[in-house]
Symmetry: C2
Subunit: 330 residues, 2 copies
Amino acid sequence: MKKSNSNYALLYERERNKVNKKLAVALKNRKPESLYKPSDYILSNSGKRLRPILVLFSAKASNGNMNSVFNAALSVEMLHNFTLIHDDIMDNADLRRGKKTLHKLYDLNTAILAGDSLLSVAYEYLLKDCKVNAREAVSAFTEGLIEVCEGQSLDTDFEKRNDVSLDEYIVMIKKKTAALAKMCCKLGAILSDAKQSDIKALSDYGLNLGIAFQIQDDLLDIIGEEKDFGKTVGGDLIAGKKTFLVIKALEKAKGEYKKELLKMIKNKGIKPEKVNYFKQMFINLGVVEDAKKEIRKFTEKALRSIDRLSNKNEISFFYWLADSLIERNK
Amino acid sequence: MKKSNSNYALLYERERNKVNKKLAVALKNRKPESLYKPSDYILSNSGKRLRPILVLFSAKASNGNMNSVFNAALSVEMLHNFTLIHDDIMDNADLRRGKKTLHKLYDLNTAILAGDSLLSVAYEYLLKDCKVNAREAVSAFTEGLIEVCEGQSLDTDFEKRNDVSLDEYIVMIKKKTAALAKMCCKLGAILSDAKQSDIKALSDYGLNLGIAFQIQDDLLDIIGEEKDFGKTVGGDLIAGKKTFLVIKALEKAKGEYKKELLKMIKNKGIKPEKVNYFKQMFINLGVVEDAKKEIRKFTEKALRSIDRLSNKNEISFFYWLADSLIERNK
C-alpha cells in the first residue's frame, strides 16, 4: 500500500518531534551541569534530524520496530552533534543555525570537553538498544565515527591544496558526510536483525543519499535564499571552501574566471560583495547544472539500491525522502 | 605457587614491551597520514602502560588468556592517550613526558581531531576482542569514558572555586583517574567471561588502586626528584592545581601559611622559586604524611578487594603491583 507524499511528510514530522522531545530531556538531569548544559544547548537545536530518521525507518524497512531502536536513533544525532561542536571550533565559526557556536557561547575548553562527552553519551544510548547483534551494531557505529574523522582530516588537507580533483572531493564527502548516513541505515537494519542483503540495500541507499545531500548542500550555498537557508548565502565561498562547484569551475574556467578562482584560493576566500559575481560565474560555466546532474546521479544510485529491499511495501518512503531532500531549500 | 617480586617485574616488563611494540605499529599504515601521524607520535611515548597491564592481568586472573584481550588492552591505552591529548590542550601544556604536546608540535585543530580519531580507533580495537559479552564490555568501556569526561569537568570547576572539600576531591579523582583503572580490570574480566564476584573483586581493586595512584601523583609533584619524575617538580603548584596536598593544607593551615595558600589560589599558581617554600610548608603541616596515609588506606582497600578473587594463585601479582606503585618515584 503506497502512502501519499503528504502522509510521509507527516510520518517524518511525527518521528522528528519525538526525537526532539527525547533529545531535549536526554541530558537534563546529568551532573556535573558544567559538562552537560553546553551539550544540552547544542542538542536543543532545531535540525532536520535526518540521521535518526534514517535509523528509525531503516528498522521499519527491516520489519523491525521503531521504538526498539529509538535510543540508537538518538545516539546518531548525538554523534552528529559531537562532530558539529568540534568542527565549529576547527572552522572558527561564530554561528550555527543562527545560534552562537559552543566555543563562542562558552569557551574553547568547554566546547572540546562537551563534544567528547556527547560522544561518550552517544555510545551509552546506542548500547541501550543493542539487544541483538551488539558487536556488529557498535562496529558499524564506530566505523562511521572513524570515517567522519578521516573525512574531516581530508577536508582540512584540501584547504592547503590547489589541485584537489573531483574524485578526491567525492572520497572526502563520502567519509565526512555520507559514511554517517550509511551508518544510520545500517544500524537500523542490524539492530532489527535484518538479513545481509537488506543491510546492504539500506547501507548503499544511505551512502549515495549522503553524497547527493552534501553536493546539494554545496549547491544551496550558492543558490539558496538567506531566509530559508539559515546561513549566509555564499558562506562557503567567503570561507574559501573547496566545494563541488569550486572544483568543477576550476576544471572548466579560462581567462578572467580562472584568474578569479585562483585568487579566491590564494586569498583563502572572497569578500561578501563578490558572492554574486561567483554565483553568476558558476551559472555561466554550467557548474550549477553539473552539480544538479551529480545530485541526480547519486540519488538515482540510492534509489536503485533501495529497490533491492526485500520488503517492497517500505520502499516508497525512501523514494519520497530522497525526493524531498533534492527539493529542499535548506 | 607464589612468584618472587623480581619475576613479577619481569612479567610486567615483558607485557609492557609487547604493548609498546603493538602500539608502535597500530596506526602506521592508516590514511590519511595527516590524521594518524600525530596520534602515532603520542602513542609512541614511553609510559608505564599501567592500564593495558591491568586489562591483561585481570584477564589472566579470571582464568582467561592474555592474548585474547590484547587488542582490548591496546584500546584502553588509546583511550587514555586521547584524554591526554585533549587535557593538554585544556591545560595549555607545552610538554608531556619531556616531549612537545601535540597542539604545540602541530596546531590546535590537528590535536583536537587526532584525539577524536584516537578514541574512535580505541573502540575499533576493543571490538576486535569482543567475542563474548560484547555489550557488557563496550558498556564498561563507555562508562569509563563518561566518567573521565565528568572528572575532567569537575577538575575544571574546582579551578574556579576556593572551597573544594576533600570529599569532593576524592569524587573528582575517582572519575578522572580511578574510573579508568577500574574499567581496565573490569574489561579484562568481562572479556574472559569471569563470574560476577570476580568482576567485582577486580573492579574494586582497580578503583581503589586508581585513587591511591592519583594521590601518589599529587605527592610526587612535591617530593619527587626532577630526574626521575620527568616533569617539573612543583608543576601542579606552579599551575595552581588543587591537589590533595593543597586541599588538606588549606584545612590545616593558619597564619602565614594560610595567607600564602590563599594567595596561591587567588593568583592561580605560584612562582617556581616558591616551590621549596611550599614543600617545607606541606611537611611542617603534616600533609605529606596525610597523603602517605591516604595512599596506604586506598591501597589496603584495593588489596582487601583482590583478596576476594576466586583464583587465589593470581592474587600475589596484584599485591606486587600495588606495592610497586606506592614505591614508585615517577
